[in-house]
Subunit: 222 residues, 2 copies
DNA sequence: TAAAAATCTGGCCGTTTGGTCGAGATTTGG
DNA sequence: CCAAATCTCGACCAAACGGCCAGATTTTTA
C-alpha cells in the first residue's frame, strides 16, 4: 500500500515538492479504506470511520475521492496491480518441480505479506465481484490459461503426472489464499496469535510437499 | 435453510397449527437475510432490503427479529449447525484412502449444495470473526484436533506418508470451500455459467486424486 | 513577494438507516 | 362462536449516511 520507492520528484533534502502531500494523503487514505472495507464491506464501510482511521476530517477524504466508489475501485485496482506484478512465472523450459515450488512459495509470501489486500480481493469475489467482472473474464483468465498451458506442456512431455492443469492452479490459489484470508481461523487452530517466520516456512514447506507429491514430483530440498 | 422435515405438529391434512406461520416466516426471512448478508456484509445489509427479498413489510421482519444482531446470529448459528451435522467422520479403524476420499467428497457436496451458507461463514471469518471467536477456539478447534489425531494415528501406523495432519485438514477445508466461495471466479476460469453435476464430479475427483496422491495413498476408483 | 494553485475543513443537505409504536386483521384453543 | 394469542404493517423517530460547498489556509510558481 506504499507508493513506488522511486519517485523522480524526490529531493535529497526531503524538501517540499509538488505532489508530495497528495501522494502521502492518497496512501494514508487508501490504507485506512482497505482496512475499513475488509472489516465492513463496501456498503458497510463509512467514510467517517475511514477518515478517523486516517486521522483526517471527513471532508478531506472527499477532497481526494469525491465518491465512495472511486475510493473503493482505486484500492481494488492497486491490489490487482500488486498481484499481477509480484507473482512468479511458470516457463515451459523450467524444471516442473523447481518452478512449481517457486510459484507456491511466491504466492505464500505474497499472501502473508499483504493479508489485507488478499482479504479485500476475496471479499469482492464472494460478494459477487460486481467490480471485477471484466478482470475475471479478461486478464485473469488469460493469466491462468497461460500457466495451465505450461503445466499441460509438462504433462505432454511426460515430465509430471497427468492432473487437470486448471484445477491445479486453482488449488494452489485456494490453499495459499486461505492462510491469509482465514488467518483468524487457522491461527486459532494452530494455537498461535500471529504468523511468525517459522510458521510461514512450515506452511510453505507443507504445501510444496503435498502438491508436488500429488503431481508425482520430487519436492526440491529448500 | 429449511426447517427439519420432521415436525411433531405436522398434520396429514395440512390444516392450521400453532407455529406454522412462524416457522414459515422464520425460514423465509433467514434465507433472505443470508443472501443479503453475503452480498453486503453485516453492516451493509439493510433490513428494508431483507424484507423486500422476503416479500414482507420491514416491521414484520422486526416482529420476528427485534434487532439486526439477533437475525445475523441466528443465520450464523444455523450454518454452524449444518456444518457440524453433515460432515463425514474419520475413524482410526477406517482405511485411510477410503476415509479421506469420503471426507473430501462430503465436504465438496456440502459446499456445492449450500454455497450461500459457505460464503457467509467465509465472510464472517475474513472480517475478523467478531461473532465466532468462541466457536473457533472451542468446538471447531476440538473437531479439527480429533480429525488430526486420526490422521496422526494412521501415520504412526505407517498407513500413509507423514504429512502435517493439521495442515492437511486445513488444506482440504481450503480447497473444497474455495469452489463454493469463489464460484464467481472459478466458473469464469472454467468457462461455465454454473456448476453442473459433471463439474462437481470432476472437481471432487481431482481433489481426491491430488490430495490422496500427495499423502502417498492410492485413490480408490469411484 | 505577489499571484496562482492546491489543500483543508466546519457546517449543511437530502436520504437511508435500525428500531418503535399501536391499531387492526387473522388464527388459535376452548 | 368467542376471547386470547398471534401476526400484519403504515407511520414515525433520532442517528448516521454520502456528498456538497465556500471560505480559510498552505504550498508552489514566477
Amino acid at each position: 500500500m506504499s507508493v513506488s520507492s522511486f519517485d523522480p520528484r524526490a529531493t535529497p533534502t526531503g524538501a517540499y515538492r509538488p505532489g508530495r502531500i497528495r501522494d502521502e494523503n492518497l496512501n494514508t487514505i487508501m490504507s485506512a479504506a482497505a482496512a475499513e472495507f475488509v472489516q465492513h464491506g463496501y456498503r458497510g464501510a463509512s467514510i467517517q470511520r475511514i477518515a478517523d482511521r486516517a486521522g483526517l476530517p471527513k471532508a478531506n477524504v472527499h477532497y481526494y475521492f469525491p465518491r465512495k466508489t472511486h475510493l473503493y475501485q482505486s484500492v481494488l485496482k492497486e491490489i490487482v496491480a500488486l498481484w499481477n506484478s509480484e507473482l512468479d512465472e511458470l516457463q515451459v523450459d523450467d524444471d516442473p518441480a523447481q518452478a512449481l515450488a517457486r510459484f507456491i512459495r511466491s504466492k505464500v509470501r505474497l499472501s502473508f505479506l499483504h493479508p489485507t489486500a488478499s482479504k479485500l480481493f476475496a471479499l469482492e469475489i464472494i460478494s459477487g465481484a460486481p467490480n471485477l467482472q471484466a478482470y475475471l473474464s479478461g486478464e485473469l483468465r488469460e493469466w491462468v490459461a497461460a500457466r495451465a498451458g505450461v503445466v499441460q506442456a509438462w504433462i505432454d512431455a511426460g515430465r509430471m503426472r497427468p492432473v487437470d492443469p486448471l484445477q491445479l492452479i486453482v488449488s494452489i490459489w485456494a490453499t495459499t489464499q486461505h492462510y491469509a484470508d482465514f488467518d483468524e481461523q487457522v491461527l486459532k487452530l494452530m494455537g498461535k496469535r500471529r504468523y511468525d517466520a517459522a510458521a510461514m516456512e512450515q506452511i510453505a514447506d507443507f504445501l510444496t510437499d503435498l502438491i508436488l507429491t500429488g503431481c508425482g514430483l520430487e519436492p526440491p530440498v529448500s
